[in-house]
């Protein structure tokens, strides 16, 4: 059933392409219906999966037998979590780009193509298939930013595309090497993730190939110091683009790190564990520190993403169940919260005020003009700071718990990062919405901003609700995620680590 998330989305792309060029309304409706259908399928499919701890095959047919490639879709609890996240991000992304007027149908076609690729990555258990879907997402990303973006859009789009390609080439080299070595052991070529996860690669081989594959994926996860595409890309992208970039595309990278690099090369992870943790914490602190001094509202959110993805990487580096649980939960949580933050800043504020410069916004009294945006940003900010009651808390809570066990000193540093996170969020709230308007500024009614539209309201409420529900009842997702790390797939990875 879950495979239909991919199919429905690509069918949606086809339908969109067949629509007449100038019918923007139809394009929006088709895109929204497609996304909702995908989301519902994802949710229902995920709930039907009776045993989320084990990898459940959806479809497996031979594809290119000569190299051992299969069309192999499957899902375990981690995939389920991220597929549901993708569904939510797709629906809300479309709601937040309801006002796109220029070449609407193409915009939504690229948007859905990106979503389809993302679903594909999360459900692929064949390395070639996963890689194809992974590459597939780069093209729509590039066009979404280069055509519909703002501020340095060509630069941002190109930087993102180049970083992505460099990353995927590192991955490709590593996977080719793994394929060759695995064939030597198995006697036949295999790209089956499950099969490969039982191959014991030589330790020396793992030591050099793991960093290649891990860094290749981690570039997309925004790992410091390879994160620089993220802020520029986020800022240049249109609102829905930033929501997807931060919401799901960065998760592709982190998912690849966990699912491919770490599962295949457990000895390599152990060798480089300290480096991942150190880079993760560097990212947490650096991202937060840089976010604290930005003048552009979107850059604040862009750097905050780097900081929050640092928690995902830190969770991965713990190599214990609780830290990994936290990492996956943080992927979900950050997807929701970053999406919401970009929605507020990009759609609710920028599309109305046409500026993201704090110096300008401070004079506008945005908090009074669009109170809904202000309240939404405050709620999203509170969630983003990791205050309890929201999903971010449970996730970071577990990441820190796992990290305490392995790297107590780095954990204390990560704590500093949280405090800086509070500081930049407050600063953004203050400068973006509640700055005291100087007496000379025009009265609010002279600058009426368009009111918040219904699609925006629905989108914001959906995301807030998702974050709250997971924050209050984390078991809903933990029941999916936790059993995964007890399964045979992760056995070798966790066996040596402290449990």
């Amino acid at each position: 059933m879950l495979a239909w998330t991919i199919y429905i989305t690509f069918i949606g792309v086809l339908v969109l392409l067949l629509l007449p060029r100038d019918n923007a309304r139809a394009a929006r409706v088709v895109a929204l219906l497609t996304a909702i259908a995908g989301c519902v399928v994802a949710l229902v499919g995920a709930m039907q999966q009776t045993n989320p701890g084990e990898v459940t095959t959806i479809v497996k047919v031979p594809w290119i037998p000569a190299i051992g490639a299969n069309y192999y879709l499957a899902a375990d609890g981690i995939s389920l979590t991220l597929v549901v996240l993708t569904g939510l991000a797709a629906v809300t992304g479309i709601l937040f780009s309801w006002n796109i007027e220029s070449r609407t149908k193409e915009f939504f076609a690229f948007f859905l193509a990106l979503i389809g690729g993302v679903y594909g990555v999360f459900l692929s258990f064949d390395l070639l298939l996963l890689f194809v879907f992974y590459e597939l997402t780069i093209i729509p990303k590039y066009f979404l930013i280069a055509r519909w973006g703002s501020t340095n859009k060509e630069y941002g789009a190109m930087k993102l595309a180049i970083y992505s390609f460099v990353g995927s080439h590192l991955v490709l080299i590593g996977l080719l090497a793994a394929w060759v070595v695995a064939r030597g052991q198995l006697g036949h070529g295999s790209l089956d993730l499950i099969e490969l996860s039982h191959v014991v690669f030589p330790v020396a081989f793992q030591h050099w190939v793991f960093p290649l594959v891990f860094v290749g994926f981690a570039i997309l996860a925004g790992m410091w110091p390879f994160h620089t595409w993220a802020p520029t890309g986020h800022v240049a992208a249109p609102t829905a683009g930033s929501m997807l970039l931060a919401g799901v595309v960065m998760k592709l990278g982190a998912y690849g790190c966990l699912r491919v690099a770490m599962v295949l090369f457990p000895e390599g992870v152990r060798e480089w564990q300290w480096a991942i943790a150190a880079l993760a914490v560097a990212g947490i602190i650096y991202g937060a520190g840089v976010a604290l001094v930005q003048q552009d509202f979107k850059f604040v959110i862009g750097y905050s993403s780097v900081s929050h993805m640092g928690f995902v990487l830190l969770g991965l580096a713990t190599l214990n169940t609780i830290g990994l649980d936290g990492a996956v939960l943080q992927m979900f949580s950050h997807g929701i919260i970053a999406g919401l933050l970009f929605g507020v800043v990009g759609r609710m504020v920028y599309d109305r005020t046409h500026t993201r410069d704090f110096a300008q916004l401070e004079k506008m009294n945005v908090g009074k003009l669009v109170p809904f945006a202000a309240v939404t940003f405050v709620i999203a900010g509170v969630a983003s700071m990791g205050l309890p009651g929201f999903s971010g808390f449970v996730a970071e809570f577990q990441v820190l718990m796992g990290a305490w066990q392995v790297y107590p000193k780095l954990t204390l540093l990560a704590g500093v990062g949280i405090v800086v996170g509070v500081a930049y969020t407050l600063r953004a709230v203050q400068k973006g919405f509640y700055a005291d308007v100087p007496a000379a500024a025009p009265a609010p009614d002279e600058h009426p901003l368009p009111p918040i539209t219904t699609p925006e309201r629905i989108g914001a409420v959906l995301l807030i609700a998702a974050s709250l529900v997971i924050g209050l009842f984390p078991s809903l997702l933990l029941n999916w995620i936790e059993p995964c790390f007890k399964s045979s797939l992760f056995e070798r990875l966790l066996k040596g680590g402290a449990l």
């Binding site: 809570f397 305490w404 407050l426 509640y434 984390p474 029941n479």
Partner: protein
């Protein structure tokens, strides 16, 4: 299984949501509903008080079921005498604060919703017994407080609110990391770690917690580091000098009704944390660090009194005086850990000190919020002026105001017959035999407090009348009714402290037993 405590927390929370949904133009409905909700809270707290079995010191009205089994998190509520006392204090102060801000003009629906959410956070903090659950409310209280200061405060409200928030968050993160460490240390391969305050206290009593922490981390001093993290979390909230610098700015910039809540109940969150969490869970560590901690408490008492003496602004003066009063609680609770013995006599002293500390928390909540209420009434009349030297001789024009505020000031000063005396008396009675030198030094604080409060009375109320205030209106009938309950309670508690002591006695005895290992 009953759900009274959940209901108590939910009522203001839901009330806040309903009120936030109303429009600003329906002002009467908004404030009426806010008051009604807070009165329901008060009624609930009184019912709880009446059904509370004071003869046993354990947790009553428990509600417990599994919440996040993977993390060992339970939804666990319950109160003992301490929690009960704080719930009652919150329930009393909130309606007063709502009445004090009756005429708030700017977005009244948001203002009152935030006040009610703050109340919900406080109720939750004082009833939750599982760290995860408790921490949620601990932080939930922070957000409304931040916005109440930020949006309705004085000219410097922005920086004041930000400073308040950041300081508290630094403490909260440290606290969080400490509890994560405890969780890891109490974790076994088959069971998740422990967040349950009651169970952790039992572990600490047997000394197992320290050794488990050391075993889990392999550091000799890890338990001390964990203790400092938790200490920082509470010390910022109380606050303990030198973590207090956010307080004068926040208290003086916040609208006075909000300051009533900040000083009346929010500062008690920190003290409650000390008594409920720090004392039972880290007795060994407190004992190890006893001398520095006592000095910290003394610094808090003496320096804040001196700082209050140097203030020219009434609200800042009272803000520092709040730090001073809570310093006595700290002194009492550190002294209560001092000697490890089961001999009867010190146990009695400890009980006296802890009784005094809890009583002082309640009394300070009552008196300080009454004082800020008076300042807000004065500000309303003077058009925002509240400098020590702005007035003079106004007792001639506002005799009723002078008399009633005088009673509150004397209660704050610790005059026998009023509530402030009983708490401080018990604290000194307990601390003196346990740590004579500390008790002796702390009396400097009492002396300075007397000096600055009398200065206040002299400069504001006595002396030649400042002609500017010749037409100052005295308290209206409605305002008299507003301050009356507080004043009556000050007398009642001063003359018949047994009313509160009876309820906390069994809890204190249990706490003392917990400390004697």
């Amino acid at each position: 299984m009953n759900h009274w405590l959940s209901l108590l927390t939910l009522v203001p929370f839901i009330g806040g949501i309903v009120i936030a949904g109303l429009g600003a133009e329906r002002k009467n409905l908004v404030r009426g509903l806010a008051l009604a909700t807070s009165l329901v809270g008060l009624g609930g707290a009184i019912c709880l008080w009446l059904h509370f079995d004071a003869s046993q010191g354990g947790i009553q009205f428990p509600e417990k079921f599994a919440w996040v089994p993977a993390l060992g998190v339970d939804y666990y509520l319950g109160v003992d005498g301490l929690g009960q006392l704080m719930v009652l204090l919150t329930a009393i102060v909130t309606p007063l604060a709502i009445l004090a801000s009756w005429n708030v003009a700017d977005r009244p629906q948001v203002f009152h919703a935030l006040v009610l959410w703050l109340q919900a956070g406080l109720f939750g903090t004082f009833t939750a017994l599982n760290f995860f659950h408790w921490f949620m409310f601990w932080e939930l209280g922070l957000i409304p407080a931040f916005f109440l200061v930020k949006l309705w405060g004085g000219p410097q409200r922005g920086p004041a609110a930000t400073q308040f928030f950041i300081y508290t968050m630094v403490g909260s993160v440290a606290l969080l990391l400490s509890f994560l460490a405890i969780w890891l240390a109490t974790k076994t391969p088959t069971n998740p770690g422990c967040f349950d305050f009651i169970k952790l206290a039992d572990l600490a009593k047997s000394g197992a917690l320290t050794s488990q922490l050391e075993a889990a981390f392999g550091w000799k001093n890890i338990s001390l580091i964990v203790f400092f993290g938790a200490f920082l979390g509470f010390a910022v909230k109380v606050p303990v000098i030198p973590f207090h610098t956010w307080l004068p700015a926040a208290y003086s910039e916040a609208p006075s009704s909000v300051t009533m809540l900040l000083t009346g109940v929010m500062s008690k969150m920190g003290m409650y944390g000390f008594l409920r969490i720090l004392l039972p869970i880290f007795p060994e560590q407190i004992r190890q660090m006893l001398t520095p901690l006592l000095w910290l408490a003394l610094a808090t008492i003496v320096l804040s009194a001196c700082a209050a003496f140097a203030q020219k602004d009434l609200k800042r003066m009272l803000a520092y005086s709040s730090i001073n009063h809570l310093g006595y609680c700290l002194l009492a609770l550190f002294a209560a850990v001092s000697v490890a013995t089961t001999v009867n006599e010190p146990a009695l002293q400890k009980a006296a000190a802890l009784d005094g500390a809890m009583l002082q928390m309640f009394n300070h909540g009552l008196t300080a919020s009454a004082l800020f209420l008076f300042v807000s009434l004065l500000e309303k009349r003077s058009g925002g002026l509240r400098g020590l030297d702005d007035f003079g001789g106004i007792r001639k024009v506002v005799p009723v105001f002078t008399g009633l505020m005088g009673i509150a000031l004397f209660s704050s000063l610790g005059l026998p017959g009023l509530n402030g005396f009983v708490g401080e008396f018990l604290i000194f009675k307990g601390v003196f035999p346990l740590a004579p030198w500390a008790a002796a030094i702390s009396t400097i604080g009492i002396l300075v407090t007397a000096i600055f409060l009398l200065t206040l009375i002299q400069r504001v109320f006595c002396g030649p009348l400042n002609e500017r205030w010749a037409q100052l209106p005295d308290l209206t009938t409605a305002e008299r009714w507003l301050v009356l309950p507080g004043i009556v309670l000050m007398f009642v508690l001063g003359i018949w402290p047994q009313f509160l002591l009876g309820a906390i006695d069994a809890t204190v005895v249990k706490l003392v037993q917990q400390l004697n290992f």
